[in-house]
Symmetry: C2
Subunit: 182 residues, 2 copies
DNA sequence: GACCCCATGTAAGACGTTACATGATTGT
DNA sequence: ACAATCATGTAACGTCTTACATGGGGTC
């Protein structure tokens, strides 16, 4: 299960509570890479603690527990990241699914959808460019840098999808006039 | 559940058996957009048939049943594709997760992983370029065209990730010499 | 006849989502 | 005081995965 590695990865950057991790999933990780809610995260933290991969380093107000990775956890994370994935994993992404099924629509409808995609990806890319500008010049390691490689990754994805959507609209335009009967 | 829409989408392009749909998932859809095995697909086809969104149009050898979308199914698919997603759905992608957690590694290890990524994305992109060349000039609708928008989508994604990986390696290089102590 | 692929199915268990629930602390 | 947010947890339900199971049809 990848949830465990997602948690190890976040905790490897800096210790956090289950609640804080839940927020991280909502704001960044969960949007692009791996979704999880607090009802999955809390029990998983417990299991990781049992396996000795994380530990509670402090307890704060309202019963909050701050977790940190142990050396064993860091090693587990490292080997998971370094091992080349044997075969492509199991992907689930509703947005991408929509894009794959576009050909099932007639061109007029497809262009409507592509227009929405072009808009939303442009907006998302603009947002990430602001984030990137805010972090300019800082190092790529540590909590600060954590988001940087990821943000650039997301930005380039959005740009690619945006350009694809624009391209696809143009193709459908041409296809409609060239290939459709009368 | 998006599996139902994935099936409607594939069947909207051309009728197929559960077995053939399973193959489609293995070869294309499942790699990028939505994973599912035959043990999910068969029961779901049954449920779609009960709801009148698909129907069995013929039965062939070895008990195979060919399904096709009904007009109601086509309408359901259309409205699902056209409705702008209210809020970003639940994404799961182990590859992307790895990329997001790279900052948890030290730069030397991160560069190894990025090297693998750069290689595999280059290979995948090359494969898709061949597919694209094979389909050049044909229409974007119908079974032939189905893969074209999708293939181009995949190609641009791979190219974007490849360029990101190359960029990230260069950044880590610079970061190591500029920002690390001593 | 042997083997491989086609084609579908069932069932146990793991996993995840949704809804419900509780209480502490902070801000106004 | 009140509301919002912090912080965690339980339980029921639904979905998915894994393993097992069966038999027809084509090919050598």
């Amino acid at each position: 299960m990848s949830l465990s590695h997602a948690l190890l990865g976040l905790l490897a950057v800096e210790p956090a509570s289950g609640y804080a991790l839940t927020k991280s999933f909502e704001l960044s990780l969960g949007r692009y890479a791996w979704h999880a809610g607090h009802t999955s995260i809390y029990p998983e933290l417990g299991r990781l603690a049992e396996r000795g991969l994380v530990e509670v380093t402090s307890e704060g107000a309202r019963g909050s527990r701050t977790y940190a990775v142990t050396p064993a956890g860091r090693e587990e994370l490292r080997s998971w990241l370094l091992q080349p994935p044997k075969q492509s994993g199991k992907v689930r992404n509703e947005e991408v699914l929509r894009m794959f099924l576009l050909s099932a629509l007639d061109p007029a409808d497809a262009k409507i959808v592509l227009g929405h995609v072009a808009e939303s990806t442009a907006a998302a890319a603009a947002g990430l460019r602001e984030i990137r500008a805010a972090h300019e010049g800082s190092s790529f390691r540590g909590p600060e840098g954590f988001g940087q490689l990821a943000a650039e990754f997301g930005l380039r994805q959005y740009e690619a999808v945006h350009e694809w959507a624009v391209w696809a609209m143009a193709q459908l335009e041409g296809d409609q006039t060239t290939n459709s009967p009368a």
